[in-house]
């Protein structure tokens, strides 16, 4: 019932994300326009949207649409890779804790508790200063500070599954622990992980923009939605178009990811989808 009713948001979200991804992949393949290039001898004011520049230009006269498309590559990559790291670390830690149990579990989970008790922003900022600012480090830092939720999820899931009869049956058939873990236990934890990664991607894209706001995000002249938005803030009154396009794009992308995640959550939960 819910599937049928809410599917418009699902379709819109998936369609929007697909469009962004396709644009981000295709346009740079067929165009040799440089999103960072401009003529240094004639820089004027930021230009309002026109037919030549649909979304206008920024303060260095660069086309905002072109930069948004290249920025999409950066922002989406940041989202994907950092979520990849988050999931990998989360599964690794969660599996060890849930599977081994006992004092190992206790120790790891208490560590996770305390890790969660430190406001992430402090960790991100400190590590980000420690490392050379680059796109890789942005992804690394975001991934490395967001895995705690996934690890709890995986652990809880494993704890609930590992006692079930079919797992015991698998052992009885003489299947090795690792194999049981990978073939029988982890797939059951997959659904919540997929949901968490959708939401995590949205958070990662937002975190990149916050890092950019603090000047620790993707470095100029390379465009990311976050640093475009940050750069636009000081032009908010005189050149609002500089802020609107990246702001709307970030919001819509994160919104779509949230919708997808929420849709999957309710879709994968038989209770809610009934």
């Amino acid at each position: 019932m819910k599937l049928a009713k809410m599917s418009w948001s699902f379709k819109l979200s998936a369609g929007f994300l697909a469009l962004i991804i396709i644009l981000a992949i295709i346009i740079p393949m067929f165009s040799n326009l440089d999103p960072n290039g401009f003529d240094p001898n004639c820089i004027g004011e930021p230009a309002a949207p026109s037919i030549r520049h649909i979304f206008g230009t920024d303060d260095l006269g660069r086309d905002i649409l072109l930069r948004l498309i290249y920025g999409a590559r950066v922002s989406l990559t940041v989202g994907l890779v950092s979520v990849g790291i988050m999931i990998f670390v989360g599964i690794f830690v969660g599996t060890i804790a849930g599977y081994l149990g006992g004092w190992v579990d206790e120790l790891i989970m208490r560590f996770v508790d305390v890790f969660m008790a430190i406001p992430t922003i402090f960790l991100i900022l400190t590590i980000q200063i420690l490392l050379k600012p680059s796109i890789y480090n942005v992804m690394f830092v975001i991934g490395l500070t967001s895995w705690t939720g996934v690890s709890r999820l995986v652990r809880a899931e494993i704890l609930s599954i590992k006692e079930r009869p079919f797992i015991t049956a698998a052992y009885a058939r003489g299947i090795s622990h690792l194999r049981v873990l990978i073939k029988h236990i982890l797939p059951h934890a997959l659904n919540p992980i997929i949901v968490a990664s959708m939401l995590g991607m949205g958070t990662a894209i937002l975190t990149e923009s916050v890092l950019s706001y603090l000047g620790l995000g993707i470095q100029p002249p390379h465009a990311s939605w976050g640093n475009m938005l940050e750069n636009s803030l000081s032009f908010m009154i005189d050149a609002p178009w500089m802020a609107i396009a990246p702001g709307v794009l970030i919001s819509l992308t994160v919104l779509s990811l949230n919708f997808l995640g929420d849709f999957l959550r309710s879709g994968l939960n038989p209770r809610e989808s009934k």
């Binding site: 240094p40 004027g44 200063i129 002249p221 000081s234 009154i237």
Partner: protein, 527 residues
């Protein structure tokens, strides 16, 4: 010898606003973009602290709006012929905010505290001339002699540091004293309260030895975000704020504001590592200089509010050479730039549109400190300029401390190619610590500049007390430095300040600040 002349100053703003009545109970709202560290002149180093300290304390001398020193806590002072003995005749009518009399003891205490190694100050070496300390002799309560081990022209400015009250601090550990957050000075304003993260409040010192301040209270609001700060100015929540050049247009239309512009005592530059496998070659450095259109930078980044720079001092200072013709200028000419690169042995790769030597691309990296919007924009433009002549430039925006770690490191060679920075200039032209080869690798000659002739001239410049003679020495220094291209001097940015029209009594716009004499500033009564 100079004597303080009080009053009778031509004041443009005062005349313009003569019709309005100053409000004796008025409050001036100012803003600080960061929390001051602490309100102790010898311990703090940040601009926000000095802004407040300047209102609460006085030094022996001060800089007036013509950028000339004049006695402040002294009625007069003189310097001996050989430039080693400074005699100060102190004012007898100065009282600390707690009512105690100000005497020579306080001055002596201040300098001795700075020179005490346990004090957490970085001002100490200003009072050591060639590693020998200055000595302070109290002649009587109101006469004081300071003896320098050898003639040293920049010392006078260092003696202008604000004076601390001996009677309060003599028993305290100055590093952790409560005084630092609750200062007692001699200045026109008394400290009232400091709400961390919110504001600092000052109130008029009714017993000020100078003219009675016209504004009753000064409130410094702490507003970290630039955009928020500008909105506060528009909404008249603060009376004065610096305006970025790009926002000027909008504020010029604001009826409540008067806009002032003047040149900052500051130049922006690109520091070039002289000890670098590519950049050691002066032809490459000249080629880079020829590739950059400084006027275009001023036009675009500063929206025309600034001036191209060719040498390391400001036109606002007396040390600026009268005759510019002797200063080498490697001006914008991509043609010349390419020729120089060819002469330096580079070949143009037409496919990649880059110069190459021995198969290696001419690729360099420039560091720019984080948060410096103007700098970040500059380097992006410079990147395009260099691309036009076939030099590849990578940009790395570095967090301030991390950048300093690299350029202040004691390695030789240091790990950078080029760095975009700026120097704020003092009134004294001495720039030994920037250009003398002994200041590398430890010191501010972080680019490793080494010119023996310049070394000699720098020392001569410090020891010469006669101003015309000094000026000639510095002209020669600037000539030689400009020729060698250790820096690419970019521009002198203007300071643009919006002041609410209810504020009057401002000083002549100039590097000494609009409120150089805070006593004269007034606010008019609200209607």
């Amino acid at each position: 010898m100079m004597v303080l002349v009080v009053g009778c100053k031509k004041d443009k703003s005062l005349n313009d606003w003569g019709a309005q009545v100053p409000d004796p109970n008025g409050m001036l709202n100012l803003s600080l973009s960061a929390e001051p560290s602490l309100l102790n002149p010898i311990l703090s180093t940040d601009a926000y602290s000095s802004e407040v300290i300047g209102k609460v304390f006085n030094g022996l001398i001060r800089i007036n709006e013509d950028l000339k020193p004049e006695p402040d806590l002294a009625t007069s002072y003189n310097v001996s012929e050989d430039g080693t003995i400074y005699t100060f005749y102190l004012r007898k009518d100065v009282k600390w905010h707690d009512g105690r009399n100000f005497t020579a003891e306080d001055v002596s205490f201040t300098f001795k505290t700075i020179m005490n190694p346990d004090t957490n100050t970085v001002r100490r070496s200003n009072y050591y001339i060639n590693k020998k300390p200055i000595s302070i002799i109290i002649v009587n309560d109101y006469v004081l002699k300071i003896i320098s081990p050898e003639p040293f022209a920049p010392l006078l400015m260092s003696l202008g540091i604000e004076i601390l009250p001996e009677h309060i601090l003599n028993k305290d550990d100055i590093n952790k004293s409560k005084f630092n957050f609750n200062p007692i000075g001699t200045g026109p304003y008394k400290f009232v309260e400091w709400k961390s993260g919110q504001y600092i409040k000052l109130v008029r010192n009714e017993n000020y030895f100078g003219p009675k301040p016209k504004v009753k209270e000064i409130l410094y609001k702490i507003i970290p975000d630039t955009n928020t700060n500008l909105v506060s100015l528009s909404k008249q929540e603060i009376d004065m704020a610096g305006i970025p050049a790009k926002d000027l247009k909008r504020f010029e239309k604001d009826e409540n504001l008067e806009i002032f512009q003047y040149q900052k005592l500051h130049y922006s530059y690109i520091g070039i590592n002289q000890v670098h496998p590519i950049l050691y070659d002066i032809r490459v450095r000249k080629a880079i200089s020829h590739a950059i259109n400084k006027d275009s930078l001023v036009r675009s980044v500063l929206k025309g509010k600034g001036k191209a720079a060719w040498l390391p001092t400001s036109p606002e200072l007396w040390s600026y050479p009268d005759n510019q013709n002797n200063i080498p200028k490697y001006d914008y000419s991509p043609e010349k730039s390419r020729k120089l690169l060819v002469a330096a042995g580079y070949e143009f790769d037409h496919q990649k549109k880059l110069y190459k030597k021995n198969g290696k691309e001419l690729a360099l990296t420039i560091f720019v400190p984080k948060g410096n919007k103007v700098g970040e924009k500059c380097v992006q433009i410079i990147q395009q300029f260099l691309a036009q002549v076939g030099i590849k430039l990578d940009i790395q925006v570095k967090e301030w401390r991390s950048l300093l770690k690299i350029i202040n490191a004691s390695d030789n060679p240091k790990k950078f190619d080029m760095v975009m920075l700026g120097w704020s200039l003092g009134i004294d032209p001495d720039s030994y610590s920037i250009w003398h080869s002994s200041q590398y690798p430890n010191g501010f000659n972080f680019i490793g500049y080494r010119n023996l002739a310049v070394n000699k001239l720098l020392i001569a410049g410090r020891q010469e007390v006669n101003i015309p003679k000094r000026k000639a020495i510095y002209e020669e220094i600037y000539q030689k430095i400009a020729f060698d291209v250790p820096y690419i001097f970019l521009f002198y940015p203007d300071t643009i300040i919006g002041v609410n029209k209810r504020v009057g009594g401002l000083s002549r716009p100039g590097p000494a600040g609009l409120m150089n004499r805070i006593e004269d500033v007034f606010v008019t009564k609200p209607l």
